[in-house]
Symmetry: none
Subunit: 249 residues, 2 copies
DNA sequence: GTTAACCGTGCAAGAACGTGCAACTTCGTG
DNA sequence: CACGAAGTTGCACGTTCTTGCACGGTTAAC
């Protein structure tokens, strides 16, 4: 393996796993830890990651140059996305909703996992196609301007014919009393229809969603298989939610 | 082996393996590493790959000028797009194919024209939603990696239910003898199916397409309502094409 | 506070590199 | 065909880069 290739490999591991463990990579690649450490140091000097004891981590969004920050999810969303990706089983079919958290998930999809990703969002479809080797199926229909998601009768019909193992749903409000809510009626209908066609529905709950409510109800909390939350979110509402739904953190 | 052949071989290896190791190639070909290094240096100077210690690697996507080329249509494409937009009648339903020329069209769509735009391309769908006030309908299906267009059986079924006034078709080859051709079989099938559901099909013929041919036939020239070409394109093939199809310039 | 893992630095061996040069081939010209 | 110019190729040489190891300092964990 070329030295330059090794750096690409480290970048790839960081993108996928969210961290690099120097010892593991050295063993995997059959090179000394010294070389890996040298690479990590150079990558850190180049501002591509931050060096920590034992390996390296992504640059915290707060420290990132502003032009990137707008595109990338917040730290909380990235943690939620990472936890959610762990729920994906190889050779399965999953549905990814629109949203910044699911967008973050597209960058973490494991390569070679033989996945099929179905999505009503053109942006998610393009992101999956770019960042992973999964089959991509886009749900057709009229694009709702509000959310840039295929919805309306055409989408509803397309949804009736799909079947998937897992649905990663984004809701703008996740509240112990009001349940899952979103800001657009069409979206709510579409999300509900998709959930009905998937074996398991997981809700992505980054910190700003917990305890919030929006106008249109999507699903009862009891109807979902799990609520994925930020592992470091101290919000007490999460324990309230845990009484009605399995919380994964 | 000729020097030029050797360079082709290096290109091929890079394409196949994603890297070139100077030592290995030298041993394989029975030439000195010096020659390989010289070749690699020239190829790198020509911008075809990046030289690294021990060999060469592909140009990282971020540095690729293709990205800019994909975003910004050539002047010829812009002129073709402008001419094509003139064919759109208010309150009509049109289908936009994938491609840089249609992407240029999305920026020129007249506001307030009460248009409905149907497209099998997620990228076009997003661009239309961003740049115009048209209703956007996306055709669902499996995304073909080659062209990032919905195709396959799901797309075919969705196409059967649509109806539009005009289809703006992109073909990679437009030839007086071979007709309209494209580089991917799935694409050809999808384009043909869409054309069958539209009252008028217009082909977008920016300069590099005229007289070119690709592998898979899409349609006969007689099957389209018009061929939109660059007003300032002096290519004599255009007059040949005019004998079989209405040329709009 | 002890211990083990991890780190940075210095160092030496080896690999890869660039340059200059001579032998050879190719090509054009007389 | 003879000749020279131009280009290509392989080799020699000194230089630079990379890598793994040794050693002593630092950090985290128990």
């Amino acid at each position: 393996m070329l030295g330059a290739q090794r750096k690409d490999h480290l970048r790839e591991i960081l993108r996928r796993d969210g961290r690099v463990v120097a010892k593991d990579v050295a063993a995997d690649l059959g090179v000394s830890e010294d070389s890996i450490r040298r690479d990590l140091r150079e990558l850190a000097d180049a501002g591509e990651m931050v060096r920590v004891y034992g390996g390296a981590l992504p640059i915290p969004p707060a420290d990132r140059p502003i032009d990137q920050r707008a595109l990338l999810a917040t730290e909380s969303k990235e943690r939620v996305a990472r936890r959610a990706v762990e729920l994906i089983t190889p050779a399965s079919t999953i549905v990814l909703d629109a949203g910044t958290t699911t967008l973050a998930m597209t960058r973490m999809l494991p390569p070679g996992a033989d996945l099929t990703v179905i999505t009503p969002s053109p942006a998610i479809a393009l992101a999956v196609a770019e960042h992973s080797d999964a089959r991509v199926v886009i749900i057709g229909g009229e694009l709702a301007r509000f959310s840039m998601v295929a919805s309306g009768p055409l989408a509803m019909e397309a949804v009736q014919h799909l079947h998937a193992d897992a649905f990663f749903l984004g809701a703008t409000g996740i509240d112990p009393v009001r349940g899952l809510t979103t800001g657009n009626l069409d979206d709510a209908v579409t999300k509900r229809a998709i959930a009905a066609r998937c074996a398991h529905t997981y809700v992505l709950g980054s910190e700003e969603k917990i305890g919030a409510t929006s106008r249109y109800p999507v699903l009862e909390l009891e109807a979902v298989a799990g609520l994925v939350v930020d592992p470091v979110d101290p919000n007490p509402v999460i324990s309230e939610l845990a009484e009605r739904v399995a919380v994964l953190r």
